[in-house]
């Protein structure tokens, strides 16, 4: 009798959990920024940086944001306690271009797109993956651009920029993405 009672209880708990989870999922649909924050973090896994990127093993893997931070704390939450090849992830927010330093991923907010040339040239000697949600950013030298199509975020990747920066983008990342080359800027 006691065993039956135990099983029944387990069943009831499982059923309750299922209902709560569905309710949460429906209620908690991720925002565009939220998804982009996760994406930004996910890039770290599909891109290979040259070995000399890190001076010391203890150097953090830095995701930098220049311009207005659209993610808020979400990016911090996403990278919290994450590591890339033994390097702890850190988010740095840059107020202006002069603050730019050695960061591995730099999100360039569409608010800063006007100074894109400056930013890119500032990053010229660094192997920094540049990401932006500004339209046409990829055609203008940003390596990865978030593009929203049918309520979905799509990636546009400028392979040449990445190659010029010494970065190797995984073919897996290239598969679902739209490739923007230097030659077919117009076409894309």
């Amino acid at each position: 009798m006691a065993l039956l009672t135990g099983k029944l209880r387990l069943l009831v708990v499982a059923g309750a959990c299922l209902i709560v989870a569905q309710a949460l999922g429906a209620a908690d649909a991720p925002t565009e920024n939220q998804v982009q924050a996760v994406f930004l973090f996910n890039f770290s896994r599909f891109v290979e940086w040259p070995p000399q990127t890190f001076a010391a093993p203890s150097d953090p893997f830095v995701i930098g944001i220049v311009g207005t931070d659209p993610f808020g704390s979400r990016l911090d939450e996403a990278v919290h306690n994450e590591q890339i090849n033994g390097h702890a992830l850190t988010v740095r927010r840059y107020r202006n271009i002069s603050e730019l330093d050695n960061c591995q991923i730099l999100f360039i907010d569409r608010s800063e797109i006007a100074r894109l040339g400056q930013i890119l040239s500032a990053l010229d000697h660094h192997s920094t993956l540049t990401v932006s949600q500004a339209d046409g950013a990829a055609q203008h030298g940003v390596m990865i651009q978030f593009a929203t199509e049918n309520n979905r975020i799509r990636l546009r990747i400028n392979v040449d920029s990445a190659r010029a920066a010494g970065l190797t983008i995984s073919s897996k990342l290239l598969r679902p993405a739209e490739i923007i080359g230097a030659d077919d800027k117009v076409e894309r």
């Binding site: 999922g25 998804v35 994406f39 896994r45 599909f46 990342l173 679902p176 993405a177």
Partner: protein, 796 residues
């Protein structure tokens, strides 16, 4: 396994069974291995595929590109067995499915972990991770058709392999079996041939395989032994049947030569031998006599200089041992230095067996068997010859016994025949004797009166005198003939009374007396016998019994006439001959031109009872002639040739002139005085003639009829004092015979002489068998001069 399953099928079954089991075990192991490895490899393959897909779908998951994820999942198309696949994100939500649009109830609600075989499918969950970061889970479901089809394929392959293997096994085993079975089957065929045909000459052929050759050799050796045994058995049976055949053949024969011949013939034919002979052994002599030579061996016999009845000396060789009762086998006579073996060797014979013929532990002969080759007799053949020699010895012994028995039987039959003849003659003689008695009585008056007339009648004409003389001679012949009749049965007189015989006269008399036989009887038959008489002049007399000589001549003339049934010439010849020492002999020859005699008849003609005349002849004629010849110290010669005729020659010694001729008729002293004579006889004619003649001599004769009357007369006369001077009585009379008369007379008057007259008189005289009280015996018919002599002798 059935006894009748041929070995070929059995072997095939075994091979099939063995290879089938091996194949089954191997295939089962292989299938089990394949099944197990297939499961793990299926999982592995699915894992690899899933991992690849998962790896490709990381970006899609990471960047939430469901289309891309779906397109990645379409890579599962490459494996038609994957029926369902799905990507779950980290929150456990289905992100993409394969095939696209797969209803979510077809998928697990929540992703699990790991790969496992379900009831009808292989199900697996592969985490999707980029680096160390898990991005989701890939679900894959593969049906088991692959495995099933694989298993089917395996089954098919297995069946094909099994079929192929068994076919190959069949072919190979057939080939191998042929090699294996060929010798066995050949051996079996040989064995069958031997068993069915009893032909032990067949041999199994060697095959080249060691064990089989060993087996075949052993089998062949066995066959050789059996064949040998069979051959020996056959030979033994052959010898046994030969022994039986010989024994039977000898059993059918009773004489030694024929037994020996049949034995040698059989041995030469059937044993066979090259040379065979029988030697007979005389216990006293140191040699053997050749009794029989084999037909085939006779050519050796010539070279051996062994001829029938030839002599072989017993030297210290095998023969002496054989004669001692031992079977001797000389395997090679050329190495034996003794004479007889050397003779055999010289004739081309090498091996010889001497088998003794033993009867009652006496060797009476030797069987010699020889062959041209050395050491040609086996011990069995020696044993056979030994047994055979025992049989032959026995048969020979039987034959001898049979011969002896036959001889004894023949002798007995001959004796019986003789006895019967003698008995017949005795009966005949007795009858003849009775007849003779009567005849003597009957002719007594004739004799007495004739003599009396010739003597006393002075006025007789010459013719009368001649007649009377002839009568007298005839009577004498009758008397002698009658006397001879008894010769048939009574023993001949020991001594013959010999007197001078004038041969020519005797011959003339015989020819005259037998004229009816040689003249009248043949003429009656239409045959003509021409009698020719050649009598020598001045022939000397001989000493002999004239009547016997006349009888002999009579017999010879009768024989001569009988030998000429169709007529011919009968010649009687007398002549004088002088032999070397000067002795003179008188020859009488009786020659006929008749049928003659062959050698056998001539040799046997003198035997008593031998006759060529059948029932007409007694077989005594020539025998009597021969008896006469012997008694007269004469000789008898017979010349005869069949178809040419016969000459019988009697050869007598002549009388030498010095011999004094006995007075022919002794003019005895005649009693001058008158005598009182009592005559006693039962024959009135005799009484009358005696009385007449004696009375004419001047005597006083009282005649009485019968013995009783005679005794009474004598007694009466004695009482009257008129005693008789002499009594003449007959011997044989009814009631009271002459002996009793004599006894009575002597009882009354012992000095009165008694003369006994008898028809048997001559016998009594000859044997001096005069009864008691009889002073003289006179034979009937009484001769007057004899009677007178007796009277003179007794009364004076």
């Amino acid at each position: 396994m059935s006894r009748s399953t041929p070995i070929r099928r059995t072997l095939m079954n075994m091979i099939f069974l063995a290879s089938g089991v091996v194949l089954l075990v191997t295939s089962s192991a292989f299938c089990a291995y394949e099944f197990l490895t297939f499961r793990s490899s299926s999982i592995q393959q699915l894992q690899i595929l899933s991992r690849a897909i998962a790896s490709n779908s990381t970006a899609a998951l990471a960047f939430e590109n469901a289309e891309d994820a779906a397109s990645v999942l379409t890579a599962f198309k490459s494996d038609p067995h994957i029926v369902a696949a799905a990507l779950y994100d980290l929150r456990g939500k289905v992100f993409a499915t394969y095939p696209q649009g797969l209803p979510s109830d077809r998928l697990p609600v929540r992703p699990g972990a790991g790969f496992a075989f379900g009831r009808s499918a292989l199900v697996g969950f592969e985490p999707v991770a980029e680096g160390s970061k898990q991005l989701g889970v890939l679900y894959v479901e593969s049906d088991l058709n692959a495995m099933y089809s694989r298993m089917q394929l395996y089954g098919l392959i297995l069946a094909l392999v099994a079929a192929l293997s068994l076919s190959l096994a069949y072919l190979i085993s057939r080939r191998l079996q042929y090699r294996l079975l060929q010798p066995i089957l050949a051996l079996a065929d040989t064995a069958r041939a031997v068993a069915e045909r009893h032909d032990y000459t067949v041999r199994a052929a060697p095959t080249g395989a060691y064990e089989f050759d060993l087996f075949t050799d052993t089998f062949n050796q066995m066959l050789t032994q059996i064949q040998g045994s069979e051959g020996k058995l056959q030979a033994q049976v052959g010898r046994l049947s030969l022994l039986q055949q010989i024994t039977r053949a000898t059993g059918e024969r009773q004489d030694l030569p024929s037994i020996f011949q049949v034995v040698l013939g059989s041995l030469e034919e059937n044993l066979p031998i090259d040379f065979g002979c029988f030697l007979l052994h005389d216990p006293g002599a140191q040699s053997l006599t050749v009794a029989a030579l084999g037909r085939k061996g006779s050519r050796f016999g010539e070279r051996l200089s062994l001829l029938p009845q030839g002599v072989v000396p017993i030297d210290a060789n095998g023969l002496s041992r054989c004669v001692a009762g031992e079977l001797v086998y000389e395997p090679d006579v050329s190495r034996v230095s003794f004479p007889f073996p050397q003779r055999l060797s010289g004739a081309g014979l090498r091996s010889v067996v001497f088998a003794p013929l033993i009867v009652e532990s006496q060797v009476f002969g030797v069987l010699v068997c020889a062959r041209g080759e050395a050491e040609a007799f086996s011990s069995r053949e020696c044993e056979f010859l030994k047994q055979l020699s025992e049989h032959v010895a026995l048969a020979s012994h039987q034959a001898r016994l049979y011969g002896d028995l036959q001889q004894a039987y023949d002798d007995l039959r001959q004796s019986q025949h003789t006895v019967m003849q003698q008995e017949r003659l005795r009966a005949l003689g007795q009858m003849a004797s009775g007849i003779a008695h009567d005849i003597n009585n009957a002719i007594s008056p004739v004799s007495l009166y004739t003599e009396s007339l010739l003597e006393r009648e002075p006025n007789l004409s010459e013719r009368t005198r001649n007649y009377l003389t002839t009568i007298q001679r005839a009577i004498e012949d009758v008397a002698r003939t009658v006397a001879r009749m008894r010769e048939f049965y009574r023993e001949r007189d020991a001594q013959l009374t010999l007197e001078r015989v004038e041969i020519n006269r005797a011959v003339q008399q015989v020819v005259e007396l037998t004229k009816p036989r040689w003249s009248d009887l043949p003429q009656a038959r239409g045959a003509m016998v021409d009698l020719q008489m050649y009598l020598a002049d001045s022939l000397p007399d001989i000493m002999g019994a004239e009547h016997e000589i006349r009888d002999a001549l009579t017999n010879l003339i009768f024989n001569a006439v009988d030998a000429m049934p169709t007529g011919g010439t009968l010649a009687v010849r007398t002549r004088r001959a002088t032999v070397a020492d000067g002795e003179t002999r008188v020859l009488i020859e009786v020659t006929d031109s008749g049928v003659g005699m062959d050698e056998d008849t001539r040799r046997r003609c003198l035997e008593p009872f031998y006759t060529t005349k059948g029932e007409r002849g007694t077989g005594l004629g020539l025998a009597m002639v021969y008896g006469m010849i012997q008694r007269h110290s004469a000789e008898l010669e017979i010349d005869s040739e069949p178809g040419k005729g016969t000459t019988v020659r009697l050869n007598f010694p002549a009388v030498t002139s010095s011999v004094v001729s006995q007075p022919k008729a002794k003019s005895a002293a005649v009693v001058k005085r008158q005598l009182r004579i009592l005559l006693v006889d039962d024959d009135p004619l005799l009484i009358k003639s005696l009385q007449d003649t004696l009375q004419e001599d001047g005597h006083l004769v009282t005649a009485t009829h019968g013995g009783r009357e005679g005794i009474d007369a004598f007694t009466a006369a004695s009482k009257r004092g008129e005693c008789f001077d002499i009594v003449v009585t007959d011997l044989g009379m009814p009631h009271v015979d002459g002996r009793k008369v004599a006894t009575s007379v002597k009882g009354v008057s012992p000095n009165t002489p008694v003369v006994l007259l008898t028809g048997w008189g001559q016998r009594l005289i000859a044997t001096n068998d005069a009864p008691a009280h009889v002073d003289k015996v006179l034979a009937k018919p009484p001769r007057l001069h004899e009677l007178r002599a007796a009277l003179a002798e007794l009364v004076a």
